[in-house]
Amino acid sequence: MNAPGAAEDFRAKGVPHRRVEAWKYTDLKSAVDVEQVASATAAQWTLESEGAEPIDFHDGGFAGAMGEASMAFAEAGFGLRVAKAGKVRVNFATPGQARVRLVVEPGAVLEYIETAEGDGFQNIGLDVSIGEGAAFTHVRIAREGRGVRIEDVNATVAARGTYRLQAAHFGSELSRLELKIALNGESAAAHLSGVSVLDARHADITTHIVHAHGDTESTQLFKHVAAGRARAVYQGRITVAEGADGSDSRQTAKALLLDERAEADLKPELEIFADDVKCAHGAAVDDLDADSLFYLRARGIPDDEARGLLIRAFLGEAFDGASDETRALLWAPVEEAL
């Protein structure tokens, strides 16, 4: 879709709000209106990249309404193509909109390390195309903020390619990471994991994985800890297309509520049009386990320390698959937040 088309379509539908099913738990309209979105300034960023060459950022697609808005209105952005091995670090520190386009050529490897911070309205649209046998790792740290912070990711994965997400989110007034990942070839895979550590903030992770081809695999593991009036949202939609036999999808979302006023909305959703598929999903919202807490305290570990140990153990599982370096990167802000 081109920018004028996207603008027309976005204006016709308006800013998404809670009566739109996909935005039920993130009432964006309460925070921004169409004009604010349309006239938002260009976001600024700092970028370090190795092994990548610039390309046009205007092409690409989007996952949801705000991705469409970034197509329509973002005047700034960058595009990068990686032919062999690349590493990109980007920090979005200002309000505004931007588009990013990444092309990971067949057999190439790209690690994309992204941080988002600051207050105000920030909307980033990211389009990633992952070639045959290519590996893309998306490391994302979204620091605690006070504004509206959205990222919309549209990814396509060719045969034997992999999209790996490892995220740590600390929430904002309203924040959302929306991903649509199409697994388009045999043995294409998406492995998504992350934590949200929220104190009186909101964080929404909305994923849509499309198993468009047979013998594709997706796994998801999201852990949320919510204190104060925090609200943690996970919506995970999985579509297995007709004929995509042999697809395997697993998703788990868990939330730990540390306060009676904290809330978690975890919603897995399956749409299966193929016969021979494996789909497992689970969602659980809990308090800290009283038996565990007592056990630790009875062995001499003070209440605070015991709670900390249980919370860290709960969150830590989300990074079991990460490299030591990535885990350290993601864990540092988690420690700060706890």
Partner: protein, 252 residues
């Protein structure tokens, strides 16, 4: 002998329901006492009250440990002062490795007592010296606490903790349940190794069997929240022969 634990006319409630209804007993330093009783008589409740579990409310009476009112202390303070409870159902804690847990607990107790904390290497050495006798493998120590452990492994780990923390009052809640005879012997040896003149033990069990291996100085029979009969080690055999129902009836 010095009184180590004195429970005076203890009444305790869980969720507003009275479970312990006037329980009294005294254990001196150096002694091992057994508490026997049918299911539901309040044995685990007593153990939780001693360890200070939230929700187990003392409505009247007192627990005096080394001259101090235990009721005023949170569980971690009791542990630091040498109270240890081997639980009937040890809790599985995913994400916390057994060794990390042991180090954290040991150092928390030491810190609370004003002792120097031990570094990871010293803890590992200490744990190793205790672990082999209880057949707790290195591999178990690396696994998440109690996760995927068999019933016997969990109980052996409880006893390992006891030997590591060297408590002065150890309460063992049905440490024998679910153990085969070899595991039972192993656990009993671990317990006997810790018998000492300045340590007291309260061994809670449903079956007489354990007391063949851990010979108590005194046996208390608990029924419906009260001690209904007391005696020496021979009482276990009488219980085994007559059954709880008869003993409770005789005592009434």
């Amino acid at each position: 002998m010095a009184k180590m634990l004195e429970i005076r006319n203890l009444h305790a409630a869980v969720d507003g329901k009275e479970i312990l209804k006037g329980l009294s007993l005294t254990v001196n330093a150096g002694e091992v006492h057994a508490i026997m009783g049918p299911n539901g008589s309040g044995k685990s409740t007593l153990s939780y009250v001693l360890a200070g579990r939230a929700g187990y409310e003392i409505t009247s009476g007192a627990i005096v440990y080394n001259g101090e009112d235990l009721n005023a202390l949170p569980p971690e303070a009791r542990a630091a002062k040498g109270v240890f409870l081997a639980m009937q159902y040890p809790v599985e804690i995913p994400g916390v490795t057994t060794l990390t847990f042991l180090k954290t607990a040991l150092n928390a107790q030491r810190r609370a007592r004003g002792e120097k904390e031990l570094d990871a290497m010293s803890v590992l050495k200490l744990v190793r010296t205790k672990a082999s006798a209880l057949r707790v493998s290195e591999e178990m120590l690396k696994r998440a606490l109690n996760v995927g452990f068999s019933g016997g492994e969990k109980k052996r780990l409880e006893i390992l903790q006891m030997s590591l923390f060297e408590p002065s009052l150890a309460v063992l809640d049905e440490t024998d349940s679910g153990l085969d005879i070899d595991a039972l012997r192993l656990v009993a040896e671990g317990v006997n190794a810790l018998r000492s003149p300045d340590r007291a033990m309260l061994v809670i069990t449903h079956y007489q069997r354990l007391l063949d291996y851990i010979v108590p100085d005194k046996i208390h029979v608990l029924s419906a929240g009260r001690i209904v009969k007391e005696g020496g080690k021979e009482l276990a055999l009488e219980l085994e022969a007559k059954g709880y129902e008869q003993i409770v009836k005789d005592a009434a």
